[in-house]
Amino acid sequence: MTRRSPGGWRRVFGIPLVVGIAGIVGLVSALVFEGPGWVAAWIGVGLPLALVVWFVGRAYGGRAASRSDPSPR
């Protein structure tokens, strides 16, 4: 995609891909299995919310504690 970063797509799209697959698996599992399927759905479909809470909390909650920007890898 770009000459600058071979495999860079994995850094950018890796986590979104995992989140997307977990969500789809969760959505389907509750449809097919009651019980364990429900739990899988709560985890898979709820994963985006956990990530949002984590990253927004880190950016805004840590503001008072630390004065430096989170640096890119």
């Binding site: 770009t2 969500g23 429900w38 479909v45 709820g46 985006p48 984590w54 920007d69």
Partner: protein, 375 residues
Amino acid sequence: MTAASIRAWSFVHKWTSLICTLFMLLLCLTGLPLIFHHEIDDWFGAMAEASPATGERAPESRIIARALADHPGKVVQYVGWDMHVPDHVYVILNDAPAADPNAATSKVYDIRTAAPLGEPGSAFMRVMLRLHVDMFAGLPGTLFLGAMGLLLVAAIVSGVVLYWPFTRRLAFGTIRPRRSRRVAWLDLHNLLGIVTVAWLVVVGLTGSINTLAQPLIGYWKQTELGAMIAAHAGRPTPAQLAPFDAMLARAKAHVPGMTPSFVAFPGTPFTTGHHFGVFLRGDTPLTARLLRPVLLDGETGAVADARTLPWYLTALLVSQPLHFGDYGGMPLKIIWALLDIVSIVVLGSGLYLWWTRRARGGAPAGAALPEAARA
């Protein structure tokens, strides 16, 4: 990605989003209470408590007789059983078998005593539902919202493409609250948007599929049902309806292992002018969505025909839970609601980002890139 292709994708993202955003906000806001419609109806509705469980059941014919006595001049269109509320029998009445669905009256009866329990739903939820389904504009409104759903999917796809140039130099989940307010909102838009892609695509696509319900059922009537009707051409409307309970028992016996979901009376949209249509369901979460129609002679109550549902109606029925989020208990409903709220933030921040760029004099989309990509 070249600057030209970023500009092209930005153009697609901007316009597909702008056209559908207001309608998506309406759908997200009205959809929020709809996720909890059972609970809200319980609070606002005026439904009486069902009698204590005894294992007994009133014959359906008694419930139907009671409903007709309660609503003089009306006819019964449908009788249904809610898989989530086993105490309730739904009876839908109208002025005529094929009258306007929006003019129908729904009433809930006690499955054991046949006593009326009240009207299902509440006025508040009915308004939310109409706004969500057709904006009080009938089938054109529904189809329009379906088209908006497809635009949303296009906006998501272009957004995913743009996610690359905007975030490739940033660690995943970077939010820069100390940069300008615009940068912080851009970061938030990117993060919230990218993690909800799968969910929003599923809800958007299944919602669009749901908007096709009426045309798909119409097509099914013309083709499959049409073939069944042809075999009974020229049969008059039944002068005297067959005894309901015996008819229902025959339908159940015809498809062992399935339970009735609803019965369509002769002349209603889901059956022919001469037949009862009994729609049976399985009992696992998936098979409960896959209805199996059995047609029974309206006069004799004999099984006339039974077919499996065509693939497009199966797709429609399976897409409904995936849109409603009502198939994984209360935790899934809460997750659904929170993802709905996240989507509202994505829509709102997108609008804000477009507006602030516009206010700055409409710099081309690529111009935002160095600012966005600098870590």
